[in-house]
């Protein structure tokens, strides 16, 4: 939910709302001005972007930019690219782009949002100084909601940088929506504790610890505030004041183990060992994987020892040793499995629907014996971030593999084109050598001249039908013959009939002349158009004739070059995947090793306590002259509780009156 909303917020920060649905919305000053889609290809990139297909959206956007297909959205496209780089976990590239793009031309609100989200990513990735710098680039105040979040984030950055005074100043003046106020007060309390001002911190942490929590999230925060305050008081040697906040922590919440342990300590510090046993015994019945539970395995016999119940104390110490041994063995197995090297495949294998990108989170764990330990390991920040990177690498490798398959097809296509070209070449060359279009054009010119002559001379017979032209020719032949004939009545009759026939023919030709002339002109126009088309095609054929060898050659060269790049990058991806895998396995194994170390330390403490008890039992028996007697089982009435809490020699020499403490404390889970 949080990630989804973050993504949405991130994207509106760098995105111009497209036409469509946008027209009905009110403009938000923290978004770019509403624009209509003016380049279809920009809309296409958005189509993928809105489906969370960030990689596809980025690829298309970059390609469309290369072709100059998004001229009207150039600036928005660049900002969107920055946002997409960020979403894909390439925060450095995103940062560089934002640095370059977030100029005064971009609305302040948009710039502020972009810097704010970039700061969040940098903070999460551990680049504190960059997060700090990005937050300082936020100019003026953002919307109350974002301003509140920004200041909380800034407070966290400052605290992580150890600048508590600044963090306190910032958080003390924090104003924002109710939903964030619990976090602000909590963080302020933590900053004050860290700055050594426990009394000042108390009201803030107590307020959070006693608030009415409306949901599980705030319930958890409430528990954490109580836990933090309780432990701060324990550390300040004020066990009486530590008890109340620790008692407020829910018994079934994720922080209950730590709280139970702390209450026990508070009671023990107040000398109430009987009271301390209640939380510690409850704790001892819980999963031994938890550091607090492990510690209770030592705390319980310690308290029994203090209560002079030495037999029970010894029994619990022995039981602790057994439990630690068993757990140690299981940890060894888990480490061995992790070191086998297929941890990540198995982890990712359970999350088949996984996507790439910075907003991804692991949903489930493999059903394997070591999964019990992996919950703790995977909760680690480094592991989570590293796993995202590893998953991205696997995804990218898959993409390149698919491209690699396509390259073969491209190569075939180019070769087929080359073959087809070779086959058609002789025909094309013969056609081009014939100069047929030029000849046709010459004929067209001749025809146009002829028509012009006919029109000028009004040679109506020239446009007559074949029959008419034959008739006209016969008339002219007969006319010529009659001209030379004697002037007799027979010939006179023939001349009259010829004149009649000629007149009828002339009338017909004259009647049809204009229409025929128009038809001829139209025919010539069509011919010219067809010749023009033929000319264009001719030019294209000539151009293609020259360019095809270069074109296919250029494609072939590109395919070869890209294939090489795929191979190189796949090798790099494989190597980096391996490195990342080793790094994560080492990280996981390291955390389990730390648990082993802690267990080992506890085990030494338990054994040492046992040995001391036996020692004392033996010494107590000696004056009574029963040396060599019953040393193995100290009796209930054995006097003198151990003078010191069990601690591994030379390692954690706990003071006599202090309950056993962990070698390394774990955060509450």
């Amino acid at each position: 939910m949080r990630l989804a909303s973050m993504r949405a917020l991130l994207l509106v920060a760098v995105l111009a709302l497209p036409a469509g649905a946008a027209s009905a919305r009110q403009h938000d000053p923290e978004k770019l001005p509403i624009t209509r889609i003016r380049d279809l290809h920009y809309g296409d990139a958005l189509f993928y972007f809105y489906q969370n297909e960030d990689f596809a959206a980025l690829t298309r956007l970059l390609a469309y930019e290369h072709w100059g297909r998004v001229p009207h959205h150039a600036e928005e496209a660049q900002l969107l690219e920055g946002g997409l780089y960020l979403a894909l976990g390439m925060h450095n590239e995103a940062g560089e782009r934002f640095e370059r793009l977030l100029t005064d031309d971009v609305p302040t609100g948009v710039r502020n949002r972009a810097w704010f989200y970039l700061a969040q990513v940098w903070y999460a990735r551990g680049y504190l100084e960059r997060a700090d710098a990005a937050l300082r680039k936020v100019n003026g105040r953002m919307s109350p909601e974002l301003e509140a979040q920004k200041e909380l984030l800034f407070g966290n950055v400052l605290m992580h940088e150890g600048r508590y005074d600044e963090a306190i100043r910032l958080l003390a003046s924090w104003r924002g929506p109710q939903i964030w106020s619990a976090y602000a007060r909590f963080n302020l309390g933590v900053a004050l504790v860290r700055n050594g001002r426990l009394n000042d911190a108390d009201p803030f942490l107590s307020a959070v610890g006693t608030m009415l929590a409306a949901n599980a999230e705030l319930e958890a925060l409430k528990d954490r505030a109580n836990l933090a305050l309780g432990f701060a008081y324990l550390q300040a040697n004020q066990p009486a004041r530590a008890r109340a906040p620790l008692a407020r922590v829910r018994l079934n919440g994720p922080y209950s183990n730590k709280a139970l342990l702390g209450i026990g300590w508070a009671d023990a510090a107040l000398g109430d060992y009987q009271g301390a046993l209640t939380p510690w015994m409850e704790l001892r019945s819980r999963d031994v994987l938890d550091a607090a539970v492990q510690e209770s395995y030592l705390a319980v016999p310690y308290a029994f020892g203090k209560l002079n119940a030495n037999a029970q104390s010894a029994e619990y110490y022995e039981s602790a040793v057994k439990s630690f041994d068993a757990e140690n063995g299981q940890l060894d197995q888990a480490i061995a499995r992790i070191e086998k090297g297929d941890l990540l495949e198995r982890v990712l294998g359970t999350d088949l629907g996984a996507r790439y990108g910075w907003f991804w989170q692991l949903k489930s764990l493999p059903d394997a014996p070591e999964s019990r330990y992996l919950y703790a390991v995977l909760a680690g920040h480094d592991f989570q971030e590293g796993l995202k990177n590893y998953r991205d690498l696997v995804y990218l490798n898959g993409t390149l593999e698919r491209w690699g398959d396509s390259m073969g097809a491209f190569q075939d296509m180019i070769e087929t084109r080359e073959r087809a070209y070779a086959e058609r070449l002789p025909r094309a060359d013969a056609l081009l050598a014939s100069g047929v279009v030029e000849k046709l054009q010459q004929r067209n010119v001749t025809l146009a001249n002829e028509l012009r002559t006919i029109e000028t001379q009004r040679d109506m017979a020239a446009l007559g039908t074949t029959a008419e032209r034959e008739q006209w020719a016969r008339v002219q032949r007969v006319e010529a013959a009659l001209a030379a004939a004697p002037d007799t009545p027979e010939y006179a009759d023939l001349r009259v009939r010829l004149a009649l026939i000629k007149g009828v023919l002339q009338f017909r030709l004259h009647d049809a002349f204009n229409a025929r002339l128009w038809q001829e002109h139209r025919g010539l126009k069509d011919l010219s158009l067809a010749l023009h088309e033929a000319q264009s095609r001719w030019i294209r054929v000539e151009r293609d004739r020259k360019s095809v060898p270069t074109n296919t050659g250029e494609f072939a060269a590109r395919v070869t070059e890209l294939k090489q790049r795929i191979d190189t990058l796949q090798a790099r991806l494989g190597g980096t995947e391996q490195k990342q895998s080793v790094f994560l396995a080492r990280l996981a194994a390291h955390q389990l090793e730390e648990q082993k170390d802690r267990l080992a330390a506890y085990e030494v403490q338990a054994r040492f306590a046992l040995a001391s008890m036996y020692d004392r039992a033996a010494s107590a028996d000696t004056p009574k002259g029963s040396a060599g007697g019953n040393q193995a089982a100290p009796a209930e009435e054995t006097p003198a509780p151990p003078e010191q809490a069990p601690a591994p020699p030379e390692q954690v020499p706990a003071p006599p009156e202090v309950a056993p403490v962990p070698k390394a404390a774990e955060p509450p889970r």
Partner: protein
């Protein structure tokens, strides 16, 4: 065993106790810092992620062991920030560079594919956009170019949502000869009152030497309370 039970001064004990408590306190306070780290509350009640369920994406270095430095100044325990170690950063940087190279290569491959398969002089692309969409819920589109079906596309809810948000889908990419052509599109979906709705639109267009872009537009015609389908020729 005797050397283990050496006597210690009360001052020494007090310091060490302070140191150990400081270590634990540090871990408690640190874990508590995580949720607002991203400027938002931790995962909600439905979270099943180990990290989320634990309520914390715990920063690295969560387990600072008690050290002599701690003993001197218990509260000076350095907070374990999410700051990555130089090693982690080096690898992170390497991965980012690699990702960038892959993104660039992917772009070049995309360009090669399109230039090879759909050269600019014969390319024809048909896009689809939806404006508002109150009167029509798109299910599928069938495209015919010169009476030949070229695509029959069924939409997923996610794609429809992307269109409604303002995305423009490049529905079809193909090649056409220079000259006159006809595009016919059939839109299937649900119209007003949830009734099955099928409409068509056609366009005769001239394909020149350059690429040709056509847009199928689905608009709402407010006056008639009906959807409107048109094909726009982008010159």
């Amino acid at each position: 065993m005797l050397h283990m039970t050496r006597a210690r001064s009360p001052t020494d004990d007090a310091l060490r106790r302070g140191a150990l408590l400081a270590a634990l306190l540090a871990s408690v306070l640190l874990a508590a810092l995580a949720p607002p780290a991203l400027g938002a509350p931790p995962a909600g009640p439905n979270a099943t992620t180990p990290a989320a369920a634990a309520g914390t994406a715990a920063p690295p270095g969560e387990t600072p062991a008690a050290t002599p430095a701690d003993a001197d100044s218990p509260l000076a325990t350095t907070p374990a920030a999410p700051e990555s170690s130089p090693d982690t950063r080096g690898l992170d940087q390497e991965i980012q560079d690699l990702k960038k190279d892959v993104v660039d290569l992917n772009k070049d491959l995309f360009i090669l594919e399109e230039e090879l398969l759909f050269p600019a002089n014969t390319q024809v692309a048909v896009f689809l956009s939806v404006d508002v969409g109150s009167f029509f819920a798109l299910d599928s589109v069938q495209l015919k170019l010169d009476r030949k079906e070229v695509i029959n596309y069924l939409y997923t809810p996610r794609e429809v949502e992307a269109l409604l948000k303002g995305g423009v889908q490049r529905l079809y990419l193909g090649n056409l000869k220079v000259g006159a052509h006809e595009l016919v599109a059939f839109f299937n979906g649900k119209g007003p009152n949830e009734r099955a709705y099928k409409r068509g639109a056609s366009l005769r267009f001239e394909k020149g030497v350059g690429a040709k872009y056509l847009e199928l537009k689905i608009d709402d015609r407010q006056r008639k309370l009906q959807p409107e389908f048109e094909i726009k020729d982008w010159e």
